[in-house]
Amino acid sequence: MKNKKRIMTLATRDYVKNIGQDGCGECQTSCQSACKTSCGVVNQPCEQDKR
């Protein structure tokens, strides 16, 4: 979608576009990274995009 004069829309993942293909479960479990004391799902990279 084109940006408007008064609104700039950041590029974001379309949650519904790949229903059925997404959800492979291969991505990192949240607590395996750096926190161990809080949940940060959003900072886990998508494994499918890394391929």
Partner: protein
């Protein structure tokens, strides 16, 4: 800035659009025109209204998607186990009083995990991981370097299973750094996908809690070791990870100190402890801490432009290629795809439940005995938690940490309100940084 929760769309807007969005659901357009007439010229308001309408038609504003229905058929929620926190040492060579693991013992006996238990854990993971290829193992404690040879031998055993079972192990080592030597540096670089190095920041901050059993601070010992490990790291990731408490609510200074030591992958976590502890974060600390995050975000943008940027774990966010919707709604995975293993092979939902008898799920020999617990944790997601439904950040935290929710509210399906406030502030800052970077790129 406007966030459309269900679609995940992020819009940077001018003032007329922002005000219109605030009013749009409650008032008809003609009423909005009247209401904003004193603040903006009519032509601007009409133009802004047109932009808002177009976003709504595109499904990027006021979108209503029932993501909950997806949970039922989400492959990510299949009953497999793919990640283990391997507590290879229930003992520690430090005596940090703020440690959630009670100085490494988890309020139990001191123990080291035998190699046979480590091997059995690797077999257990392969057996229960179904079709998942990527398996994760975190060598944790206590201090895992106190059982270093066992760690190395367990890694070697796991590697021997990979080809035969079409699996790929990803290892993480979490260490306080005291025992890092050439062998640890060389092995972790070769075998560990991630290394987590515990450093709280400035010398006075680090040495306030992170004391040896003899009561001496360890900043001077571990910092050169961490620097050497990172200098020689040619693959995988690392994080220098700190904890902040009531004693250093100016933790921005600690993060910048770590960055100035040459580390560019940094995490800093709020302390996890009962509210009665003197170092627990207080209600009065909240606004102070929130400002620290805001200042951090601005400082990071500034340093990035100066070519000396660093990453902060909790501000790391890839809007375009981040987690899919299944990941965002399924919960953190504790008690289902992720378990903690004690030195004697007992299984718990995660490292924060270890040695709590109410949460003993089974052991490596018999497998999951408490299937009721497994089912309960399987239901811990963003739709089951009270308080999450109306939260704008729910698709960023997936309902948050089950252990923190339990410890702070008494229920696995409750929420840790304090933690939620901090989390939302961090996401707010991360989104602001994304917006700033995008606007810079656009000139």
């Amino acid at each position: 800035m406007v966030l459309d929760v269900d679609s995940g769309s992020v819009h940077v807007t001018d003032d007329p659009v922002y005000e219109i969005v605030r009013l749009y659901g409650d008032l008809p357009e003609e009423e909005i025109l009247v209401r904003l007439a004193e603040s903006f010229p009519e032509e601007e308001i009409r133009e802004a209204l047109e932009d808002v309408r177009e976003l709504i038609l595109s499904g990027l504003l006021f979108s209503k998607t029932d993501h909950q229905v997806r949970l039922q058929d989400a492959p990510v929620t299949a009953p497999v186990i793919k990640a283990l926190c391997l507590n290879v040492a229930h003992t520690c060579n430090l005596n940090c009083c703020y440690c959630f693991a009670a100085q490494g013992t988890y309020k139990g006996d001191e123990a080291l995990m035998p190699l046979e238990t480590g091997k059995r854990a690797m077999d257990f993971l392969v057996e229960h991981s179904g079709s998942r290829r990527n398996l994760e193992v975190d060598f944790f404690g206590g201090e895992p370097l106190l059982n270093w040879q066992m760690v190395k031998d367990t890694v070697a055993y796991a590697r021997s299973l990979e080809e035969k079972h079409n699996k790929h192990f990803r290892f993480t080592l979490t260490t306080n750094g005291l025992l890092i030597d050439d062998d640890v540096i060389e092995f972790t670089n070769r075998e560990m996908d991630n290394v987590v190095l515990s450093l709280d920041g400035r010398p006075e901050t680090h040495d306030r809690f992170r004391l040896t059993r003899g009561g001496r601070g360890c900043y001077d010992v571990v910092v050169p070791k961490f620097q050497e490990l990172v200098r020689r790291r040619t693959r995988g990731t690392y994080y220098v990870r700190g904890t902040y408490t009531h004693e250093n609510t100016d933790f921005l200074e600690d993060i910048l100190h770590i960055a100035d030591l040459g580390f560019d992958e940094i995490s800093m976590e709020p302390v996890v402890c009962p509210p009665c502890e003197p170092y627990a974060l207080t209600a009065e600390d909240m606004p102070i801490v929130q400002v620290q995050y805001e200042k951090l975000a601005l400082e990071m943008l500034k340093r990035d432009k100066e070519g000396r940027g660093f990453r902060f774990y909790h501000f790391t966010m890839d809007l375009d290629h981040g987690p899919c919707i299944y990941k965002r709604i399924a919960g953190c995975g504790s008690g289902t795809e992720y378990l903690a293993v004690t030195p004697n092979g007992d299984l718990y939902p995660c490292h924060q439940f270890v040695e709590n008898p109410d949460f003993l799920m089974g052991n490596l020999r018999e497998g999951i005995v408490r299937t009721d617990l497994q089912e309960t944790f399987g239901r811990c997601n963003v739709f089951a938690r009270s308080g999450c439904q109306e939260c704008w950040a729910k698709l960023y935290c997936s309902g948050g940490c089950a252990a923190n929710a339990y410890h702070m509210s008494g229920s696995l399906l409750g929420i840790d309100e304090y933690g939620c406030e901090l989390f939302k502030k961090r996401i707010e800052c991360a989104l602001m940084m994304k917006a700033a970077e995008t606007m810079d790129d656009a000139g």
